[in-house]
């Protein structure tokens, strides 16, 4: 009886959690999302700390005109679209940085302007390009990830992750105390630019799976949620990666079983984990407002 029951349980687990990944397209989607989950969230944590969360949004829309131009001139080649996306993303990052400085700190309004113009420009170019499906670019297609797309995602993620490891120390210092960095002769701007380059790369990597509308979903939502799970920076980075990996698996399973589009399912899973952290996470959560004992000293 007991063995029978255990056997049933194993079958249930296999049915709900394992079998979906027996399919090749699900495995490729999972591999791609795991690559993005390793590279994106650490960048997201630093974006949050640098008060640049909105910039990620601007970048993901900013790459659309480049992707569209890539499709216009290179056909549906992923390399052309990826290259166009990286170039457009870098241009937008530089433009956003310049506008932020030139506008004396009122950068949110400038960024909103950039992202609206970029989105409109992208849609206009796509519409003028024959054979390109706008919805495909905007929303991505995780489940249609082929080997080329997987290579793009994994490559972009690897370079981003390794690059971040290289510039980690000066980047953290520049985020915490930029004046000190300048005063001791460090060139803060170089690290900022390198960081923006890595973010652009990761956004383009995410675009293949999640489209330009939700490309940073796996980067930002786990990063925003991470502060509810850990207080220190290494802890937040680890938490964000774990949350992103969980979101990837949960989202793909949700998509498979409930027939929800995979991209939104993944981003919704990340959103659900964020909500869970916000409500009941160990740090800075709403739970602390309700259940609030205090220490003696």
């Amino acid at each position: 009886m007991t063995r029978n029951c255990a056997g049933t349980r194993r079958e249930v687990i296999a049915h709900w959690l394992i079998e979906p990944f027996a399919l090749g397209f699900m495995r490729r989607a999972l591999a791609g999302c795991m690559a993005l989950s390793l590279a994106g969230p650490p960048l997201g944590v630093l974006l949050v700390l640098r008060r640049m969360s909105l910039t990620s949004d601007v970048l993901q829309h900013g790459i659309l005109p480049g992707v569209a131009l890539g499709a216009l001139f290179g056909g549906l080649s992923l390399v052309a679209m990826g290259l166009g996306g990286v170039l457009a993303g870098l241009a937008v990052a530089l433009l956003a940085g310049w506008l932020a400085r030139a506008s004396g700190g009122r950068e949110d309004s400038q960024l909103a302007g950039v992202f609206l113009v970029a989105l409109a420009l992208g849609v206009a170019i796509v519409s003028a390009t024959r054979g390109v499906d706008l919805a495909h670019l905007l929303f991505g297609s995780v489940l249609a990830v082929d080997n080329a797309a997987l290579l793009l995602m994994a490559g972009a993620a690897s370079v981003s992750l390794l690059g971040l490891a290289v510039i980690w120390r000066p980047l953290v210092l520049e985020s915490f105390d930029p004046a000190f960095m300048r005063a001791v002769g460090g060139h803060g701007g170089v690290w900022h630019l390198a960081f923006m380059g890595l973010v652009v790369l990761c956004v383009v990597g995410g675009f293949a799976a999640l489209g330009t509308l939700m490309s940073v979903g796996l980067m930002m939502l786990p990063a925003v949620a991470a502060r509810h799970f850990s207080a220190d920076l290494p802890g937040q980075v680890r938490a964000s990666v774990v949350l992103a990996l969980l979101s990837s698996v949960a989202g793909l399973l949700l998509s498979y079983h409930a027939d929800v589009p995979a991209g939104p399912a993944i981003v919704l899973s990340a959103g659900a984990l964020w909500a869970a952290g916000l409500l009941a996470g160990p740090r800075n959560s709403l739970r602390a407002r309700v259940w609030r004992p205090h220490y003696r000293g």
Partner: protein
């Protein structure tokens, strides 16, 4: 430790073309302990930032006597840093060794020891792994003093070091400043508390955008000079004419 003198040659620094420091010439002698005083908006912070290389000279120049940028250490005004940033006290203090550690090298062993010693010195032994977000304003100021100690620079610039700290913290930090002065470092401190200046600082520079007086504290802080500093306009004149002294 005998640093070279820091000499200002007709220094003018501007914000949006209006002078914050106006035609200032003079010399911070090696090993001197100078207070920079004056009303709000007198250009004290701008002068310190210019000395630290963070604000460009609009006209004139600063002669550091060949000191490298990291040899002139700045304690920024409290409140300019994000105290919620998730770093530990030890990491912040160890940043003082940046010039010797740089981007890729390990923290040298003697700097690691110096970091712990500095935390001990400012009364924060046992706080190594605490996040700066959990500190009080006074404790955070102690952390920045410890970073300054690790930086071990011959010229120290302190911007209102005792703002937002209690009397006991201020007294302990003042003792540190006295010790740095005793070691022969040049210390330049922006302060509002003129009683403290008169008590502790041999030299004073009284600023009101234009220099009012610079020299021994007793003479600089004469009633007449203090009145002149107070009467100096605090606001930009919208109809200000171009300065005739401009080159």
């Amino acid at each position: 430790m005998t640093p070279p003198p820091v000499v200002l040659h007709d220094l003018t620094c501007v914000h949006d073309r209006h002078p914050a420091v106006h035609h200032l010439s003079g010399r911070f002698a090696p090993g001197s302990l100078t207070a920079v005083a004056g009303p709000n908006g007198a250009g004290k912070t701008t002068l310190l930032r210019a000395l630290a290389g963070l604000h460009p000279a609009h006209e004139g120049r600063i002669d550091h006597g060949g000191l490298a940028p990291d040899q002139v250490a700045l304690l920024p005004q409290a409140g300019t840093l994000d105290r919620g940033f998730p770093v530990t006290c030890r990491d912040v203090v160890a940043l003082g060794a940046w010039a010797r550690m740089g981007v890729f090298r390990r923290l040298p062993g003697d700097d690691a020891a110096r970091t712990d010693a500095a935390l001990h010195e400012v009364g924060l032994a046992g706080f190594e792994r605490r996040l700066v977000g959990t500190l009080s304003a006074g404790q955070f100021q102690r952390v920045l003093f410890a970073r300054l100690a690790v930086q071990d620079a011959p010229v120290l610039l302190l911007d209102e070091p005792f703002n937002a700290v209690d009397a006991r913290t201020a007294a302990e930090l003042m003792a540190l400043i006295r010790r740095w002065h005793g070691e022969g470092r040049t210390v330049i401190t922006v302060l509002h508390d003129l009683d403290l200046v008169a008590r502790e600082f041999p030299e004073t520079l009284l600023l009101a955008r234009d220099p009012v007086a610079w020299g021994p504290t007793g003479r600089t802080l004469s009633a007449e000079n203090r009145l002149r500093a107070r009467l100096a306009a605090e606001a930009w004149a919208d109809d200000a004419q171009l300065c005739r002294d401009a080159a």
